[in-house]
Subunit: 428 residues, 2 copies
Amino acid sequence: MPREIGVGFLGAGVVGSGALDVLLRKRERLGAAIGAELAVRRVLVRDPGKPRPVALPPGLLTTDPSDVLEDPAVEVVVELLGGEEPARSYIAAALKAGKHVVTANKEVIAKHGAELLRLAAAHDVNLFYEASVAGGIPIIDTLRHDLVANEILAIQAIINGTTNFILTEMGAGRDYAEALREAQRLGYAEADPRNDVEGVDAAYKLAILATLAFHADVRPSDLVHVGITRLAARDFRYAAEMGYTVKLVAWARLADGKIEGAVYPMLISQGHQLASVRGSFNAIVLDGDQIDKLMLYGRGAGAGPTASAVVADLCRVAHNVVRGVADRVAIGNRDRSVRSFGELTSRFYFRMQVIDRPGVLARIARVLGDHRISIASVIQKETDETARVAELVIMTHVASERQVEEALAEIRALDVVRDVPSFIRVER
Amino acid sequence: MPREIGVGFLGAGVVGSGALDVLLRKRERLGAAIGAELAVRRVLVRDPGKPRPVALPPGLLTTDPSDVLEDPAVEVVVELLGGEEPARSYIAAALKAGKHVVTANKEVIAKHGAELLRLAAAHDVNLFYEASVAGGIPIIDTLRHDLVANEILAIQAIINGTTNFILTEMGAGRDYAEALREAQRLGYAEADPRNDVEGVDAAYKLAILATLAFHADVRPSDLVHVGITRLAARDFRYAAEMGYTVKLVAWARLADGKIEGAVYPMLISQGHQLASVRGSFNAIVLDGDQIDKLMLYGRGAGAGPTASAVVADLCRVAHNVVRGVADRVAIGNRDRSVRSFGELTSRFYFRMQVIDRPGVLARIARVLGDHRISIASVIQKETDETARVAELVIMTHVASERQVEEALAEIRALDVVRDVPSFIRVER
């Protein structure tokens, strides 16, 4: 008789049902792989009467978290509630009770990962979170184990499928509102899409990746995020004409011993590995001193891919339990600070509406020059003859966020400038 | 004082020197990560006087394998000799002596992996081989651990950088001989390139991947390999006109409970994930029932990437040694046979030189029809007016290798057919 390992679930929504389905359907095969049987003991849900896509044995469901957190027969807690609270408190309570924890919660890990991992170490239990970033893509395990010989120099990632779907649609000519509605219709975007479209979700995931990659404690509050809501379909057309595509890129790198990073829409050249990541797919490109470049590409969300990551973590925990050991994730042992957003540099794309009159470009160029921003190219695009308004697209050489912010304030104040509807960072 | 783990190297060529360099330069950081210090005790080389890119402490080098294999202070043996023998015997000797083994040897693992893994289990030691497939891409660990919740349905891979470099050059208009010379000049191809250009190397790697993916014992002899030496620059031009690119694809899949697989040049559509894998890069696309698609892309060879994989394995071994446990790799517990090559199906591209005379196409079409091969499209390409020879390119619908082999023999025997210089499989 193989040893049984008791598992308790907090949450049985899309991902939870997917993971439970795998555990029930593949029980025997997983048992053979890990040398123990994963036995689901309790499942916390809000509404036990709600129909679910997985048939659970009767008596498993409960609405009382203590049935999971305080049951000594539950050795591993799988947290799939999402959101900061009560998820964080439940995870902490489970660890303190000597239970291992597997979570898909990017917000809790991004904001409180270091504390929770220390708590896990103090209680000699495992805390795994592969499913918190990029669903079915094994990026956490890759950073923790497979790239141990590398100094990771840079991360560039598309780690929010909702926005990548919307941007792919916009690249095909739709406007933002229309693309968002399509994403909501297909279940890629929530009714309240703010966390995704404002870049908050991607910033959580980037903080988790940067913390592992750079061996430093990077929090979401260290990383500025800019959303996609102000992008216009015409920016995609102009970008395409210049050989670029627009993606919401989460990036971080080491530069002169400091960590730099942000989440924002970016013009990347059409030959870039991330340019061909379409629809709701995710991809992460890593630069390491040994591996050069490594890209992982796959499904970043959905029941199947996320359940794959949750069950892989469960098997890692179970394998450790069988052998009586625990893995530690060491966090933040490097003294590396995060550079402030104003100091970050890139090239920039501006789209401006200006009065169609001689001397306008000279005035804008002078402001940019005053702030030591060099212009790489200027294109005068469509002009509305009757309104005497011209559209200018300007690409700059590398400049800092602060330089650009200051220059933009002055440019916006010029009487010849009607509006600067877009400014987008461009791959260096 | 952290525990020291003694490491012995068999071989200190490009990869060995790369791994030794990492171990010496990053000693402290790796030690902190694994809770033990990896101490290099002996290094077997052919010529101790040869200059090496890494500065080793004096006294480490030896030309006697027993200095590594019989030294009780060596707990882990890193085998980087390559080739079948004596590498296989040394690995077996090390395992029997209770030593853990890390190897980059695809030939030994592909041909003898199951026996060696059983030997490792019998002696309660680890045998790891991440570096044997795709260099810096962590595909072995991904299959072994990260995708445990999945039934893997299919693998499609570019896992030979030499041939992918040559094919990329041919796609840019070079002919085979010229592209091969360039690959040799850059160090991507060996003086005797047969193992690479004939697909042997890719078949070794595919056997290793299929064994893990399908939980069955797949040997290289189960997998037919076709090389790239008969491809002509004009095939690349015709392929491009039709929206395809030519790649050496190593693929395997489950179909009706049997394993199918082969290594051969293939026309894949330009939108396929593998189509944009250029130069010496490698990529592996996996289909799993939970994850849908996952692609891993990176450097498949070279000192840095391969050393990254070797050192990751060493750290896994060391971490296990510290905790007094060993990982098992279970092989071949599924009863799944490999379908014979003749039964494999795909679409086909033929390029034929025929006498330019009415009725020729009808005769060829009749032969194909007799073998129940349907034609999807026919294009008459360049014609040599003086020689009265025309070039025909025919694309078929799905047919089996056997059907095509039999039809081709008859077509070649037609008096109106001068030659069939190319036939290439096409992505289904």
